[in-house]
């Protein structure tokens, strides 16, 4: 018998006007992270102050609809700069502790980036700091009705959006004055029970309604790529000509910006900041396109030529990640293109290797 996904699913509804009150209640227990529109118009996925006027001000800056956050919310679990431990006259003082985190408004492509990082940081040796930060987290995704980066988003090709299929606790589907709420986990179900005054029952037509919204949202993603072909080409041995990497590498200014905004990048550097015998060991994001990334103390640098670093950047995402975990490192968010000063992006690279038309 065919399993009908529209049946048996719990669907609820929450009115948009009630979101702030829900957040006020949730804030007693969780640290809240939201997309907030800051002065200048950029949207950042940041923590909301715990309470009081600052909390209310942050709620005023909350923006949940089709937002393009500059950096992906992966940053909440893997910060750009993170202290590992303090030291003082030879004594090491560990920095530990975790707080429950509540994320509202995660985009499905960014959720995929978080799931990717979850797998990566728990693979082999578990990463202590990442493990601490993801403890007791609650993620509500909001699917995109329109692509937040219209010329760059290609989630339908990468199969990561515009709505998430797994990995969320709750997923909100925008219907105008309210969100329909999908449940993605047992924790999500418990949340609905606990805050049941906010979540109201819906009519039987809701499931169908959701499917229609999702289908229309998918149609709104204009940029289509042959992602499978790209991965298959990358995974075959040396089928991508060196010349493509050299050409891309000629344009690239090696600023690392694409990797800083990438939802699945996990590389970091480690350094000490100290004065006298006192200081802190930090880790901070690093990028494989930087020339110092592979330079050894002897001066030997296996990726001494620029194009070799371009090759690494693309092969890591589209080849090695797939080989190791079966998951592509590219989530199709398009940030690498929209943030690039010289107009290079994963989508143009993919089109170049698949032979699809590359137009600007």
């Amino acid at each position: 018998m065919r399993h009908d996904p529209l049946k048996k699913k719990t669907i609820k509804k929450i009115f948009k006007v009630d979101i702030k009150e829900l957040l006020r209640e949730v804030s007693h227990e969780w640290d809240i992270y939201l997309p907030q529109k800051k002065i200048g118009g950029d949207v950042w996925f940041e923590q909301v102050p715990k309470a009081g006027k600052d909390f209310e001000d942050a709620l005023m800056e909350m923006t949940l609809e089709d937002v393009d956050t500059v950096v992906s919310p992966k940053e909440i679990f893997f910060p750009q700069l993170e202290p590992l431990f303090d030291f003082n006259e030879g004594n090491i003082i560990e920095i530990a502790g975790s707080s429950p985190k509540f994320l509202l408004g995660v985009k499905p492509c960014d959720l995929q980036g978080i799931l990717f990082a979850d797998e990566f940081f728990s693979r082999n040796v578990k990463d202590f700091y990442y493990g601490n930060r993801i403890k007791d987290r609650f993620i509500i995704t909001i699917g995109c009705l329109q692509p937040p980066r219209p010329d760059a988003c290609f989630c339908t090709s990468a199969h990561t959006g515009p709505f998430a299929e797994k990995g969320y606790n709750l997923q909100f589907v925008d219907t105008g004055d309210a969100y329909l709420v999908e449940v993605g986990s047992e924790k999500g179900r418990e949340f609905l029970v606990r805050f049941d005054s906010f979540f109201i029952d819906v009519q039987d037509t809701a499931a169908q309604n959701i499917e229609q919204i999702k289908s229309k949202a998918s149609e709104s993603i204009q940029l289509k790529l042959d992602f499978e072909k790209a991965i298959s080409l990358m995974r075959s041995k040396d089928t991508v000509p060196e010349e493509i990497y050299r050409r891309t590498g000629e344009r690239c200014i090696y600023c690392g910006g694409c990797l800083y905004v990438c939802p699945s990048c996990t590389c970091f550097n480690v350094f000490d900041d100290a004065k006298g015998g006192q200081g802190t060991r930090f880790r901070n994001w690093d990028a494989c396109v930087f020339s110092g990334y592979t330079r050894e103390a002897s001066g030997n640098n296996p990726r001494h030529e620029k194009w070799l670093r371009t090759l690494r950047r693309y092969e890591h995402k589209l080849k090695h990640d797939c080989e190791i975990s079966g998951i592509s490192g590219c989530v199709g968010c398009g940030r690498c293109l929209s943030s690039c000063p010289v107009n290079i992006g994963m989508s143009s690279f993919i089109r170049e290797i698949t032979g699809e038309k590359n137009e600007k």
């Binding site: 040796v125 578990k126 550097n269 103390a297 070799l308 092969e315």
Partner: protein
């Protein structure tokens, strides 16, 4: 969950100048429980910290067969290793590890073992040489082929004299630039092939040194008919974390810090050519 990023203090018990720019350090963990429970295998490395400056990945140069001994031979190359080389006996350094795979010496029982080292690549091989010497009956003939820049750059000079006295053990040395008093070979390591026979068949070769040296040795071994999987090499890459997270040591889909640093030549040849591991 264990925090792998936190290093543990250790005291420098002894140090010896090996070459003009490298010293061997013997250390012990200050925490007696850690000192007692600490285990490692030849081929593994540790991250050594100088608090305030940072960390460097350093091969273990001693053997677990000599209980309680933990030694590193460190060349003053970067800021951390320069600082370590300025430390004195009794000073504290900070260690975490051991990391990486190790030499699969269990598979080499009853075989000839050929060690081929260049420069400070001799340090990780010393761990294995000590181990093999301490379990000498498990192995047949030993040969140590070692090349350095100048006679002064030869490490473990006293030990080399001791090892030569061991039965069935041959030591061959070469330097790029010799002096009048130098009695051994002059030239690159592969020059030593003229002085001894390195034959495959019931033999393994273990190679460590700079990339150019390892490349020419690998070619020479293949020319001698050595099967790729009887050639073991320990690779070097910039490593920050040692646990497969920071990304710096990635080669293709491998991380030198967890999938290596010991690879067979067969495994190395499967790595992307464009990563310049060897120049073959």
């Amino acid at each position: 969950m264990k925090n792998e990023y936190v290093p543990y203090p250790a005291t420098i018990d002894f140090m010896r100048q090996e070459t003009p720019d490298a010293k061997t350090f013997r250390v012990h963990f200050i925490d007696p429980n850690l000192a007692g429970s600490f285990r490692y295998r030849p081929g593994q490395f540790m991250e050594i910290s100088v608090l305030g400056l940072g960390e460097a990945p350093i091969s273990i140069a001693s053997s677990p067969s000599r209980h309680g001994s933990l030694e590193f031979t460190i060349r003053a190359a970067g800021s951390v290793t320069k600082a370590i080389n300025k430390l004195s006996q009794g000073d504290t350094i900070y260690l975490r590890g051991p990391y990486g795979n190790s030499f699969p010496f269990e598979d080499w029982r009853g075989k000839n073992v050929y060690f081929i080292a260049g420069g400070l690549g001799f340090a990780p091989l010393r761990s294995l040489i000590h181990f093999v010497m301490d379990t000498r009956n498990d192995f047949l003939r030993l040969k140590i082929l070692y090349g350095a820049k100048t006679p002064d750059d030869i490490c473990f000079k006293e030990e080399l004299k001791e090892w030569e006295k061991e039965r069935n053990t041959e030591i061959l040395l070469t330097v790029d630039r010799s002096t009048e008093r130098w009695e051994h070979t002059t030239g690159v390591v592969t020059e030593l092939w003229k002085k001894t026979s390195i034959h495959p068949g019931n033999s393994v070769s273990i190679v460590c040194g700079p990339p150019v040296m390892m490349s020419s040795v690998a070619s020479q071994l293949l020319k001698s008919g050595f099967p790729e999987n009887d050639i073991f090499m320990t690779l070097e890459r910039y490593m920050k974390c040692g646990i497969g997270k920071c990304g710096h040591c990635n080669i293709g889909n491998k991380f030198v810090c967890i999938d290596g640093p010991v690879f067979t030549l067969g495994q190395v040849k499967l790595l992307p050519k464009r990563e310049n591991v060897l120049y073959l």
